[in-house]
C-alpha cells in the first residue's frame, strides 16, 4: 500500500521554524513505522535524522509522536495507523534535529533518584533470598527502557519542566519496592519533594504512552501512598 508520511523537520542553529516534509512510500501493512523512516532515509532523503538501534522495542531509542501519540517507531505497525502517518519529535524536550531530541535533562532526572540498589553490610556468599511474591512487587517497573515516552506525554511535565517526571519515578519505584533495598526513607523524602510525585495529577497519559506496558500511574500512586504512610 502507498503511505503518505508527514514528518516534522527542524535543525537547531539552522532553521528558524520547524517545517513539514512529505514522503510517499510503498509499504506492507505489517511494516513498522521505523521501516518507513528507513525507506525514506535509504532511498529518498538520507538527511532525515532519527535515533534507532534494536528495531524491536527494547533499546528505547526511537520514541516519537506518531499520529498524535507517543510510541516507539519500531513497535507500531502501518496497519494500526492507516495510509497517512504524521511523525513529530516528542514534546517537552528541545529538538536538536528532526526527530532527535535533547535527552540530557531526562537522564539527569533519572540519575537524581539514586537509581541503584542501596544495601548496607556484607552480602552473603551466595544470593540474597527474595521470594517470588517479594519479586513480583516491583516487577512492572523493572521493565523501563528509558525511552522518554511517558515523561514527554505528561501535561504536568510540559507545564513544569522541573517536575522529575514519570520515568524517574518509575525507576525510583523499582528500588523502593525491592525487598533488598534499605534506602526507603531517603527515597521517599526525595520523591516527596516539591518537584516529586505530587506534581502528578493522575492524568494517565504516561500509562497509555508506555511501550512496555508499565502501569506508570499506578506505580506513582504506590509511591504517593508510601509517602503518606511513611513506609513502603
Amino acid at each position: 500500500m502507498k503511505i503518505t508520511l508527514r514528518v516534522k523537520r527542524f535543525e537547531a542553529g539552522r532553521d528558524r521554524e520547524p517545517y513539514w516534509a512529505e514522503y510517499e512510500v510503498e509499504a506492507e501493512p505489517t511494516d513498522r513505522v521505523l521501516d518507513l523512516l528507513h525507506a525514506v532515509k535509504w532511498h529518498q532523503d538520507s538527511t532525515l535524522a532519527f535515533r534507532r538501534s534494536c528495531g524491536h522495542g527494547v533499546c528505547g531509542s526511537d520514541a516519537m509522536l506518531i499520529n498524535g501519540r507517543n510510541r516507539l517507531a519500531c513497535k507500531v505497525l502501518v496497519k494500526e495507523l492507516g495510509a497517512r502517518i504524521t511523525i513529530e519529535p516528542m514534546r517537552g524536550f528541545s529538538v536538536v534535529r528532526d526527530l532527535i531530541v535533547e535527552m540530557e535533562g531526562f537522564f539527569a532526572k533519572y540519575r537524581s533518584v539514586q537509581p541503584y540498589l542501596i544495601a548496607d553490610g556484607e552480602p552473603p556468599a551466595n544470593e540474597r533470598l527474595q521470594s517470588p511474591e517479594q519479586r513480583a512487587k516491583f516487577d512492572d517497573t523493572t521493565k523501563c527502557i528509558l525511552c522518554g515516552a511517558c515523561t514527554t506525554s505528561c501535561p504536568s511535565f510540559w507545564s513544569n519542566p522541573d517536575y522529575v517526571g514519570p520515568a524517574a519515578i518509575v525507576n525510583a519505584h523499582r528500588f523502593l519496592f525491592d525487598s533488598r533495598d534499605q534506602a526507603a526513607e531517603e527515597r521517599l523524602a526525595l520523591l516527596g519533594d516539591r518537584d516529586g510525585v505530587w506534581r502528578c495529577r493522575t492524568i494517565y497519559n504516561c500509562t497509555e504512552a508506555c511501550p512496555r506496558g508499565i502501569e506508570v500511574t499506578r506505580a506513582i500512586g504506590e509511591v504517593k501512598k508510601a509517602i503518606l504512610l511513611g513506609r513502603r
Partner: protein, 583 residues
C-alpha cells in the same frame, strides 16, 4: 573544511558501554577513565538478550562448573581454548552472585533463590540430558544486566562520552596511544590520548540480511583494530540462531525451548527427533539451524515457504506469560499471533560472532601465533575472541563472557595504567579520520559514478546471506569474496548527501558501512580457506570435521595491498580431547 580536533587525556579509554564495557569500567573505579559509546549506554544491545546467563549454581538440581566447561568445549566443536573455558565457567558462578548483590532482579525459585532454566547444549553429567543452568529474569535477562551495570556506573559517577563514534585507534612506538572519535551531535572530531584502550563494541550481525542484531552492530571495533594491523581471529564462525521471527529476524529466545517449546516442520513432525535423539530441540544452535535449513531444502517448510514452526501452545498461558512475556509481546505485536493458541513461524537468523579481536585471558590483545601482547590494547565481549566459544557458542555463554572477561580486562587495565607512563601521541593523530570523513562528505571528485551507502550495504547483506551463511561451498565463497571486494571499490565512490554537522546519521551510517565491509572480507576469506566443517562453519564440499589439518584458530590480517593474509595458531586443550559431537 577541516578544523582542529579537541584533545582529551585519560589513563584508560573504554570504547563501548554494553555489558562488557560497563563491567570493565566498574573494575577501574578510582582510575581516570572515559567511557565512549556511539549509543547511550542503556541502548546497547546487551539489553536485548533474553534467555539467561549460564552458571552452575545448582539451584534446582545437581550441577558443576566442570560440566558447564565440558558443554562449552563440546558445543564449540573443540575449537575452544580450554584454559579460557575453565575460567569462564568457574567465574560464572561468582559473577552471577555479584550481579545479584548489585540488585539484579532475577526470577526466583519458591525458596527465593535465583531461578534457572534449561538451554541448548547445556547438560548434566557430560551429555546425559538437559540441565537447568541458565539464570534468568523472565526473558529480559540482558535488559536487567545492562540496567544493573548502568546503575552501578551512576553510583560510581563514571565519566561517559555518549554518542561518540570511535573511528580510529592510535598507536605510537608499538604501544596503544588512544583513539579518535566523532561526536555525533555536532560533527566534531576528538582525540583521546590514553595509556590503555579497551574495545567492547559488540558484534556485526548487520553484515547479514536477516539478523537478530541491532542496526548499530556493524563491527566497528573489529574493523578499527584490523586497520591498525591487529589480526581478527576465527571470523568464519558466525552463529545462526534457529528461531528468528520469519522474515524479520527478531529473536525468540532458546529459553522458549528451554521451557519445553518444540520445533515442527511443515508436516507437523518434531524433526529434531531424527537429528538429535537425546537433546532434541535443545541441541546446540549450529546443529538445529542446519537441521531447519535441511528440512526447508527437502521441501518440508510450512506451506512450501522458508520457515518452520515453534510450538509453545502446550506450555499454557501461565508459563508463557510469566516466563516468556517479552517474546509473547513480540509475536503478538509483529506477527499478530497469540503463541498461547497459535504456532510461531521461525527461521534461522544471523545472531552471534564467535570470532573477533584475539585476546588472552586477561583481555589483552594478542597479535600473532605466539600470542604476543600489544601493550595497552584490550578487548572484551562479543567483539573479542578469547576463545571461549570456539566454532559455536552455547546459549547463555555470551553474557557470562562479557562479564567475566569484561571484569578481567578492567582489572588488568587498572594494573597496567598504574605501572605505565603515557605514550607519545602520533603526529597529526586525527589526520586519517579527517581524510576519510572528507572523502565521504565531498565525494571522490573523480567524476566517477556516485554510490549510495544504503544500496552498497543492502547488496552486501544479501550477498553474505546467500553465499556465506548456514551452508557454504568454495564456489559460493569465491563469488562472495569477489563481490565484497567489488563493493569495497564502490564504497570509495560513496558520497554522503547530508551536509549538516548536527546528528549527521547519513555520515555515521557510511562510516559503519566501511567497518562492515572489512569484517565481511575477513569472514568470507577465512571461510573459503577453512576446508572442513566445524560448528557454525559448514562446508558442503568438506562436510567432515578435520582435526588433523584444521584444529587451529584462524588469524586474518589486512595486508598493505588491501587483501587478507591468513595465519593459524594452535588450540589450547587441557581436560577434554576432541571427540565426535553427538547430541
Amino acid at each position: 573544511m577541516a578544523e582542529s580536533p579537541i584533545y582529551h587525556k585519560h589513563e584508560a579509554v573504554i570504547v563501548g558501554a554494553g555489558g562488557a564495557g560497563l563491567m570493565a569500567a566498574g573494575n577501574l573505579v578510582g582510575r581516570d577513565v572515559a567511557v565512549l559509546s556511539k549509543l547511550y549506554p542503556i541502548r546497547s544491545h546487551t539489553g536485548a538478550a533474553q534467555g539467561g546467563i549460564g552458571a552452575a549454581l545448582g539451584n534446582h538440581e545437581e550441577d558443576h562448573w566442570e560440566w558447564h566447561m565440558f558443554d562449552t568445549v563440546k558445543g564449540g566443536d573443540y575449537l575452544v581454548d580450554q584454559d579460557a573455558a575453565e575460567i569462564l565457567t568457574r567465574e560464572a558462578v561468582e559473577t552471577v552472585y555479584e550481579l545479584e548483590h548489585w540488585g539484579l532482579p532475577f526470577s526466583r525459585t519458591p525458596e527465593g533463590k535465583i531461578a534457572q532454566r534449561r538451554f541448548g547444549g547445556h547438560t548434566r553429567g557430560e551429555g546425559k540430558g538437559p540441565v537447568r543452568r541458565s539464570c534468568y529474569a523472565a526473558d529480559r535477562t540482558g535488559h536487567m544486566i545492562l540496567q544493573t551495570l548502568y546503575q552501578q556506573s551512576i553510583k560510581h559517577g563514571m565519566r561517559f562520552f555518549d554518542e561518540y563514534l570511535v573511528v580510529d585507534l592510535l598507536m605510537e612506538g608499538g604501544r596503544t596511544a588512544g583513539v579518535v572519535a566523532l561526536s555525533i551531535a555536532d560533527g566534531q572530531l576528538h582525540v583521546f590520548h590514553a595509556k590503555a584502550v579497551l574495545f567492547a563494541t559488540g558484534g556485526y550481525g548487520r553484515v547479514y540480511q536477516t539478523t537478530s542484531n541491532a542496526h548499530a552492530l556493524t563491527g566497528d571495533g573489529m574493523a578499527v583494530v584490523l586497520r591498525a594491523g591487529v589480526p581478527l581471529e576465527d571470523m568464519e564462525f558466525f552463529q545462526f540462531h534457529p528461531t528468528g521471527i520469519y522474515k524479520m529476524g527478531i529473536l525468540i529466545t532458546e529459553g522458549a525451548r528451554g521451557e519445553g517449546g518444540k520445533l515442527l516442520n511443515g508436516r507437523g513432525e518434531r524433526f529434531m527427533e531424527k537429528y538429535a535423539p537425546t537433546m532434541l530441540d535443545l541441541a546446540p544452535r549450529d546443529i538445529i539451524s542446519r537441521c531447519i535449513a535441511q528440512e526447508l531444502r527437502e521441501g518440508r517448510g510450512v506451506d512450501g515457504k522458508r520457515y518452520v514452526h515453534l510450538d509453545l501452545r502446550h506450555l499454557g498461558r501461565d508459563v508463557i506469560e510469566s516466563k516468556l512475556p517479552d517474546i509473547t509481546d513480540f509475536v503478538r505485536t509483529y506477527l499478530g499471533i497469540d503463541p498461547i493458541e497459535e504456532l510461531i513461524p521461525v527461521q534461522p537468523t544471523a545472531h552471534y560472532a564467535m570470532g573477533g579481536i584475539p585476546t588472552d585471558v586477561l583481555g589483552r590483545v594478542v597479535v600473532d601465533e605466539k600470542n604476543t601482547v600489544l601493550p595497552g590494547l584490550y578487548a572484551a565481549g562479543e567483539c573479542a575472541c578469547v576463545s571461549v566459544h570456539g566454532a559455536n557458542r552455547l546459549g547463555t555463554n555470551s553474557l557470562v563472557d562479557i562479564l567475566v572477561f569484561g571484569r578481567r580486562s578492567g582489572r588488568d587495565m587498572a594494573r597496567y595504567v598504574a605501572e605505565s607512563e603515557f605514550p607519545a601521541l602520533p603526529p597529526q593523530p586525527a589526520e586519517q579520520a579527517e581524510a576519510r570523513i572528507a572523502r565521504l562528505r565531498e565525494g571522490s571528485g573523480g567524476g566517477g559514478r556516485e554510490e549510495s551507502a544504503a544500496v552498497v550495504r543492502e547488496e552486501l547483506q544479501q550477498e553474505l546471506m546467500e553465499k556465506a551463511s548456514v551452508f557454504r561451498t568454495a564456489n559460493n565463497l569465491v563469488q562472495a569474496l569477489d563481490r565484497v571486494r567489488e563493493l569495497q571499490q564502490r564504497y570509495q565512490q560513496v558520497r554522503v548527501q547530508d551536509r549538516s554537522r548536527v546528528f549527521n546519521t547519513d555520515l555515521v551510517e557510511a562510516l559503519e558501512l566501511g567497518f562492515l565491509l572489512d569484517t565481511a572480507e575477513v569472514t568470507v576469506a577465512g571461510a573459503l580457506a577453512r576446508q572442513e566443517s566445524r560448528g557454525a562453519h559448514f562446508r558442503e564440499d568438506f562436510p567432515q570435521r578435520d582435526d588433523q589439518n584444521w584444529l587451529k584458530h584462524t588469524l586474518a590480517y589486512r595486508t598493505a595491498g588491501g587483501g587478507v593474509e591468513l595465519k593459524y595458531k594452535p588450540v589450547t586443550i587441557t581436560r577434554f580431547q576432541p571427540k565426535e559431537r553427538k547430541y
